[in-house]
Symmetry: C2
DNA sequence: TCTGAAATGAGTGAACA
DNA sequence: TGTTCACTCATTTCAGA
C-alpha cells in the first residue's frame, strides 16, 4: 500500500462519487494516473464496492437493531450466515468472539416487524437471540484513516 | 416515498457509482429525470452521502471490534459521542437501549493498538468498556430492500 | 507508472409538454 | 414530473516517456 493509494482510498471512502479529475487534483496526479490506480484497487479487491448511505428514517424503516445469536445445538456445524442470507432485513453479519457466535445488524419498520424477523431468524438458523435496539446514530461509516 | 425513488435508492445503495444513464435504463426514466430525482433525494437528505467500501485486511487494519460503553458516573450528562468524535479509529457510534449506552465499531491494526484505543476511549468519555472482537465478516452493507 | 491527446460517453441546464 | 436537445465535462483508451 502506497501513500498515493492510501490518499485515493481515503478520498473515495469519504466521497464515493468523486470524479477522477477531482481525485487527480487532490493527489497531484493526472486523470489517467488516478484512473489506472483506482481500477487496479478495484481489481485487487482493495475497493470492494461503492454505496450510497440512505437515511432509513425517511424511507419508512426507522427501526435499527443488533441481534446477537448463539446456536441452540452447539454440536451442529454453524452455517448461520448462509441460512440467514436470504433475509433481506439483515444488513450485516459479523462472526464474533465471545458469548455469542454472530452479530446481525437489521433494519425494519416497526416493533412488530422486528418480532416477526426474530422469529424467522430463530427458525432459519436454530439459534437463540439477544436483541439491542438502536435509539439513534450519532455517526456511522466514517472513513477510518 | 415513491416507487421510483425507492428503486433508485436501492440501485444506488448497491452501486453508488452507477451513472444516471444506467439508472435511467434500469428505471425506465430519462437521464434528466433520474438526475432530478437523485439531486432532490440528496437535498432532502434521504441520500446522506456516497462511500467506497474498503477491504481493511488489505490496508494494514485487519482488526475490527465492537466496544460497548457505559458511563462510570451515571449522574453526569452523557455526551460520549462528542467526546469520542476525534478518535479516528471509531468508524460508527450507535446509541442503544440496554445495559450499555453506546456501541462503537472500531478498526485497528493490532491487539496492542486495540488496547491503546480502549484506554483512550475510557479516558475521553469516562466510561467502562466491553469489547467484542470480530473474527470475520460474512457480509456487510447489504442494501435492505 | 506516469503524461497528454483523442474518442466516446455521461452530466447538466433550458425550453417545453 | 416528465422529455428532448444542446453544451460541457468526465471517462476511457492508447502511444510514448
Amino acid at each position: 500500500m502506497e501513500d498515493l493509494d492510501a490518499q485515493i482510498l481515503k478520498l473515495l471512502a469519504a466521497d464515493g462519487r468523486m470524479s477522477f479529475t477531482d481525485l487527480g487534483k487532490a493527489t497531484g496526479l493526472s486523470t489517467s494516473a488516478v484512473h489506472q490506480r483506482v481500477k487496479r484497487l478495484e481489481q485487487r479487491g482493495v475497493i470492494k464496492g461503492y454505496g450510497a448511505s440512505i437515511d432509513y428514517d425517511q424511507v419508512g424503516k426507522p427501526l435499527t437493531a443488533f441481534i446477537s445469536i448463539r446456536p441452540i445445538d452447539p454440536s451442529q456445524p454453524d452455517d448461520s450466515p448462509e441460512r440467514l442470507r436470504d433475509i433481506t432485513e439483515i444488513e450485516s453479519c459479523w462472526s464474533v468472539a465471545g458469548d455469542e457466535s454472530y452479530i446481525l445488524k437489521v433494519r425494519v419498520a416497526t416493533p412488530t416487524d422486528l418480532e416477526d424477523l426474530l422469529a424467522r431468524v430463530r427458525a432459519a438458523a436454530n439459534v437463540s437471540t439477544r436483541t439491542t435496539i438502536v435509539l439513534s446514530t450519532p455517526y456511522e461509516h466514517r472513513p477510518t484513516s
